[in-house]
Structure formats: structure tokens, C-alpha cells
Symmetry: D2
Subunit: 138 residues, 4 copies
């Protein structure tokens, strides 16, 4: 069960060799995949399920994102991803993320992703009711 | 236009930094993605389109694969993937692949993938007619 | 701590959206990345660390692999990867893998990878002593 | 040879099935890999080579990035990535990117990446001379 203290959900993951690059550290785009893993866990921590939303015709494609890289992660490191809701409007939601080394707490990266809510055809629609009721981070 | 000499189709690609790993060489699983790129080009070289087959309800999921690794590729290398049909049955097809350094011809990897033909629900069905008529490698 | 019963180590992972493809299921090459995650956990379960071996000049590149796909995994599924040693020679080791749905036990894929032991320059060398002493699966 | 008109370099690529996700479109993080491919081609178009810079001890890790997504790409689409230099300081450089469908010109995504120049140990250093002389986009 993810930790939901302060409306921030924590995900723990181990760096895969596949995620490293020839610099010997994690390739930058993989942090966005870790943020996605954090996002899924965030919803699960509040009893929701992104996969179920899709079955109900709610899709949340990324429309904008930003990331800042502070320190490298290496193969075998345990990384803690923290995820929270930064804000929501009727048809979009923005989540915030931090990735840190579990052992030392060193911050690796921060970022945010903005998602538009659409139906299966790509038309915008209101967020699922359960998502609108998720608490933003204080 | 891919080269289709001897019923082998060539695809050229440049190694991306994202495809390397902490050993400084291309991560092994990425060769299977290159084989997939080769497979798509193979069909296109004979006027076919895997995406169109999917729209017509023909899917070709991988059911078995094998790869052998002979030499490493590095960031920026130009790689030639050669693809051919090893054999086909009414409901499955097997393709063969080689990846080599374009500059020197050094062989990097060989492999094959077997694909079952299914409909959108995952039930097996006969291969699309156009695929059954593609020539196996001599 | 991974389960090492019967000299098989279990890894649990959650399917990421990034790992799915347009068929709505996990893309085949990602199972090889899951096998790699299982391999790392296998060594850790016996007190070893592949990253430490690399620092000592032992590298284990994949030289051959095989995989068979039996059923699809989908976004959000929890997958159990089981890893064991199939056999070892003085300069190479072969590991076996199974991936199954955690909830139902349904087998998704099986495979093996063979690894050659090399130094940093790519010359073959004997496996690290600790690895030679790991027990093969009964 | 990439097109360098107006100090913008174009890269052409074909969408791989591996790059799609369960929404049937390209997964957002893959655009950052395409931007990386564009970046490599940008340097090559001006006679430079990022791999050679690394051999000389110049590394350009991403320290910040931003992307905006406007329309989806699908399997088999041909995508044109346009890359240019937005600006440079003595120890950092920022590149801009656009990805568009080759067939229709429809814009898919825009973004930028900022890179710090470091040595192999991660200490900041001045950009390679050849990079400092590359022309920013007018």
C-alpha cells in the first residue's frame, strides 16, 4: 500500500540496466516513465484505477510536461518517486513528481505532467468524478 | 525504397543514445525492436502495410523469438537490418533477421521471430492473403 | 527480500503504460527487460550484486536468448517473474525465466538468456567465484 | 545529409510499434528520444559528432526539458523532427525541437532540452569549441 501522507504517494522502484545509457546513468526520458508509474500508484492509493477509467471512456493523455535533473541514478539504485496533484480544472489535471535515492534521500529529478481528459475519439470531456475529488497536495 | 534483392529487405538505422546501456553498447532487447523495424520495412517493400492489416482485423503477435549476439553496436553507429521470410504456415509466419554495422559489414546479431495470426479478440485466423503470397528467402 | 524457495527467485512488478503497445498488451521485447530485472533480483537474493561485479571487472553481456509468449499482460497487471540458473560453465552462465500473472497464476512467457563473462575490454574470463557457487535449479 | 536550411536540421523517422502504447498512439516519453535523435543529426549536419565529444571528455547531460503535445502519431507514420539551437552559454546549451507528420505537416509536439557540459566525472566545463561556434536559429 503506497504511503499517502500529506497527499503525496510514494512508489519504490529499482533501476533496471535497460534504463541506463552509455554515460553509466539513467537516461533522462526514463524518469518520465517513472513519473507514470508514480501516477498509477497515486490513483491506486486513493482506490482508483486508471485502467478502469479507460474502460469507462476516460483517457488522460499527456499534453505538456517539464522535468529538471539534479543528480544521476545508477543501475541497482532504489529510487523513491513521490507523486501529488498540483491542480485540476474540469477537463485537465496536473501532477507533480520528485524522484530521490531511497538510501540517501538525494533528490534526482523533479517534474510535472499536465493531462487532458478525452474520450476514446480524442474529444475533451470532464474528468471522472472520482478524480475530481482527489485532494491536491497542501 | 528498401532493397529487396534475393528476397531480403534492408533497413538502415542510426543507434540512438537511448538504446545504449551502462556497458557503453546497445542493450540487447533493443535489437528486437530493430528486428520489428525491419519487419515493417519488409512488408512495405512488397507493397504491404502491417498497420492496414490490423485495421482489417489481422494481428501478428510474436509467439516465439530467438536472438544471438556476436558483436556490440555503439552510439551513432549506422546499422543495417536484413529481414526475410523463413517460412509460413496457414496461421503463422516466421521471419529471420541479421543486424550488421553498415560501415564494416561486421555482423552484430541474428535472430528470428514467429508470429501467430489472430483477430482482434486473439482468436487464431489464417494469414492475410497478401502475406501468404510473399516469397520466402531462397 | 525475494523468495528463494527451490532456488527460484521471485520478482514482482507492475505493468507500466510505457510497456504496452497499440495491441493494448505488453510489447514482446519488454519481457526481456523483466527477465533482466529478475536476474538482478536473483543475484541479490543470494547476497550478490551484478553492479559490484562490474566494478570488479566482470561483465555478463547476453550472447543468446530465447522467449516464448503464451498470454498477454495488460496495463496495471501485477506480474511475477521467476528466475533460476539453468546451468553454468567456467566462462558462461544460462538463466531461465517465467513470467506469470500474480492474481491468477496464468503463465505469460518463458525464456532463457545465456551470458558470457568478459572483462571491460570484452575479453572472456572466468565467472566471478561467487557466481560459480550459486546453486542451479533442481 | 540533413537539411540545414535556416539553421534548422531535419531528421526523418518511421514510428515503430514499440513506440506506441495502449491508446494506439506514440507514448509521450518517446518524443524525447526522437528529440535526441534530432540532436545527434543536428551536430552531424554541421560536421560534428557527439560521440567524438564524449571521447574527448565532453558530456552533455540533459538538465532540464519541456515538451508540449499537440496531436498523436501512430504506427508506421513518417515523422519529421526539426532541431535547432535556441541559445548557448559558456557551459550550457539549449536546443529546440518540433515533430510533425511528414505527409501532412501536422505538428505533433514541440519541446526544448537544456544541457550542461561536464567532464567524465560530472564537473562542469566549457562547451567544446566547435559547439560554441554552431549558429543559433535566426
Amino acid at each position: 500500500m503506497p504511503n499517502t501522507q500529506d497527499r503525496v504517494v510514494e512508489t519504490s522502484l529499482r533501476v533496471r540496466y535497460a534504463e541506463t545509457d552509455a554515460m553509466g546513468v539513467v537516461y533522462h526520458a526514463n524518469y518520465l516513465i517513472w513519473f507514470e508509474a508514480g501516477r498509477g500508484d497515486y490513483f491506486r492509493a486513493f482506490g482508483q484505477d486508471y485502467g478502469a477509467w479507460e474502460k469507462d471512456g476516460y483517457f488522460l493523455p499527456v499534453v505538456e510536461l517539464h522535468a529538471r535533473y539534479l543528480a544521476p541514478a545508477r543501475y541497482g539504485d532504489t529510487v523513491t518517486v513521490r507523486t501529488w496533484i498540483k491542480g485540476a480544472r474540469s477537463r485537465s489535471v496536473t501532477l507533480g513528481y520528485e524522484a530521490a535515492l531511497a538510501e540517501t534521500g538525494q533528490l534526482l529529478a523533479t517534474g510535472w505532467t499536465q493531462h487532458l481528459c478525452t474520450d476514446a475519439e480524442g474529444n475533451t470531456r470532464r474528468l471522472p468524478e472520482e478524480l475530481r475529488q482527489l485532494p491536491p497536495h497542501d
